[in-house]
């Protein structure tokens, strides 16, 4: 009906402090909105509370101040509509890749109830997803038989298997070599175009942020808040060779300058 539906994720004036009243303030006056189906990247100096933001949105921790609203409801506990992937793939070494990817189905309702009866369908779905990320034929392998990049692909599948409307990625490609990382960017792009989840990607790789996201948000130094944002105009699918074009490079440089300013602010605050 309305021309502008309410944002899917709304973080309003959130503060987060660890370890009681005297503890570290990780976030302050953090405000951001993410539209349904949007791909947002969050970048910032290290230690600025990017990962904290992620845990707040998924309901793992309650904010000290402010509100977090996801899908029209204030977040008060873990959200099963979210999928998560981290820098460390954290696959279970005693499970095959297929069994690893299917783990969320054993936890999240309604899949948990239906898993036994509709096992064949779920297995088929898992295999489709593994094919989408280029892991067809590896279903029966164990994680330690796969390379780091392949493990990370499996970890992405695990985050996606229960069709989460919200995908939270905490530097998922950070530990990979450049070539593998670029492969996975394209995998990520393909997955997003196929499933259209809302994605919040936390990263410190500006090229990655610009290549993948619709919008890049820049966080200040700790206590973190969103200090600037940049729309990325390129249509999808984007191609890797675009990242070497002058315009793309200019965007990356612009972001870089803003982060440098944010870090200068950090030094000024420390004085």
């Amino acid at each position: 009906m309305t021309a502008h539906p309410p944002p899917f994720v709304q973080i309003h004036d959130v503060a987060m402090r660890y370890g009681g009243v005297e503890g570290t303030l990780a976030l302050r006056h953090a405000t951001l909105d993410v539209a349904d189906g949007e791909f947002v990247a969050v970048v910032g100096p290290s230690g600025c509370g990017k990962s904290t933001l992620m845990r707040l949105v998924t309901g793992l921790w309650p904010p000290t101040e402010g509100t977090v609203i996801v899908a029209g409801r204030e977040v008060s506990g873990p959200l099963s509509i979210a999928g998560m992937a981290f820098q460390n793939p954290t696959l279970l070494p005693w499970r095959t890749i297929q069994a690893n990817v299917m783990l969320p189905l054993e936890v999240v309702q309604p899949h948990r109830r239906q898993l036994r009866a509709q096992r064949a369908e779920y297995v088929a779905k898992t295999r489709d997803l593994l094919r989408l990320v280029g892991l067809a034929g590896f279903e029966a392998k164990f994680p330690w038989q796969l390379s780091g990049g392949m493990q990370q692909r499996a970890s992405l599948c695990r985050a996606l298997i229960h069709d989460p409307r919200l995908l939270m990625l905490d530097e998922p490609f950070g530990a990979l070599d450049v070539f593998t990382r670029e492969d996975l960017w394209d995998v990520m792009q393909a997955v997003w175009m196929a499933k259209k989840p809302t994605v919040i990607l936390v990263t410190h790789d500006l090229k990655e942020a610009v290549y993948l996201a619709d919008r890049v948000l820049i966080m200040s130094a700790r206590p973190g808040r969103i200090i600037a944002e940049r729309h990325i105009p390129y249509p999808r699918p984007r191609r890797l060779d675009q990242t070497y074009e002058a315009e793309f490079q200019a965007i990356v440089h612009e972001l870089r300058d803003r982060i440098s300013e944010a870090r200068k602010g950090e030094v000024a605050d420390a004085r």
């Binding site: 845990r55 998924t58 309901g59 793992l60 506990g77 873990p78 959200l79 099963s80 979210a82 998560m84 981290f86 460390n88 954290t90 279970l92 070494p93 005693w94 499970r95 095959t96 069994a99 783990l103 969320p104 054993e106 936890v107 999240v108 309702q109 164990f142 330690w144 038989q145 695990r158 985050a159 229960h162 939270m168």
Partner: protein, 277 residues
């Protein structure tokens, strides 16, 4: 050079095979060597049999007393196994509790350590007062001595689940019970089986200690009776039978471990790794 390659590959494979054969034979060679040295020393220095009997005398005694040795070994085996199984059940349960709850850990750990420091020989007389001489004191001593390593290991396995993995599951709405069942317990299994190897051997120690203090049967009782008759070769026969039983139980524990937690040792291309989880 290329013409040499297959031959040298063959030679390498042959060398590897020889090495494997040697590795398989080595334990037996070492045992045989030990008995040979022992026999030779006894004969050379004419050591009296009531101080150190030669292996040949021990073997003779084993043949002569094979029946009591077998029945008493069986009794000890049953005692040990019952005590050990109790330790497994109790140790797993307590290990899960200690590993998954900081409160239980803080509250219980000092007591557990204190308890483990008590020499079990001192506990046997108390058990005898409670249960009378015989089966139960031995079972309980085996249990008391062997549950501690199981608790510690299982607790460690569960307490060291990666925080990120915990987050992945918690964010999906998993309860702490789900997390223990899906991640904690499977993750603790290698620790658990490693502790079983320790636990089974100390369980033997426990039941034999108790048998030497107060029992009517069992290998410990047999050795006590033999030594009171100054039948030292029979005492040694009992010791050797105990050693054999210990090795056998250890081997059983290792076999189970390899079949269930091969993933932890990263045995590549191992066909036994066919568990789905």
């Amino acid at each position: 050079m290329p013409a040499d390659a297959p031959r040298s590959a063959e030679a390498l494979a042959e060398a590897a095979r020889r090495r494997r054969r040697l590795e398989a034979a080595l334990p037996w060679l070492v045992i045989a060597g030990m008995f040979l040295v022992w026999e030779a020393a006894c004969r050379l220095f004419s050591i009296p049999p009531f101080i150190l009997p030669a292996p040949s005398l021990i073997a003779e005694s084993m043949v002569k007393w094979w029946q009591p040795l077998l029945t008493n070994a069986w009794a000890t085996l049953v005692t040990t196994f019952v005590g050990f199984m109790m330790a497994v059940v109790f140790g797993l349960a307590l290990g899960v509790a200690v590993g998954s709850s900081v409160l239980v850990y803080r509250g219980l750990y000092p007591l557990l350590i204190a308890f483990n420091s008590v020499p079990k020989v001192a506990v046997v007389p108390i058990l005898v007062i409670w249960f009378g001489a015989g089966f139960w004191p031995a079972v309980l001593t085996a249990f008391l001595i062997s549950f501690f390593p199981i608790v510690v290991n299982v607790a460690t396995g569960i307490a060291t689940v990666e925080p990120e993995l915990r987050d992945v599951l918690r964010a999906l709405g998993a309860s702490s019970r789900d997390i223990i069942a899906k991640v904690g317990l499977p993750r603790a299994m290698p620790y658990f089986f490693a502790s079983l190897k320790v636990a089974i051997t100390v369980a033997f120690v426990g039941s034999i200690i108790s048998e030497t203090v107060a029992a009517n049967e069992g290998i410990g009782h047999l050795m006590l009776v033999a030594s009171s008759r100054f039948d030292v070769p029979l005492v040694f026969a009992g010791l050797i039978v105990t050693g054999i039983m210990g090795v056998l139980m250890y081997w059983v524990a290792v076999t189970i471990e390899e079949r269930t937690t091969g993933w932890a040792t990263r045995g590549q291309n191992d066909p036994r790794l066919a568990m789905g989880g």
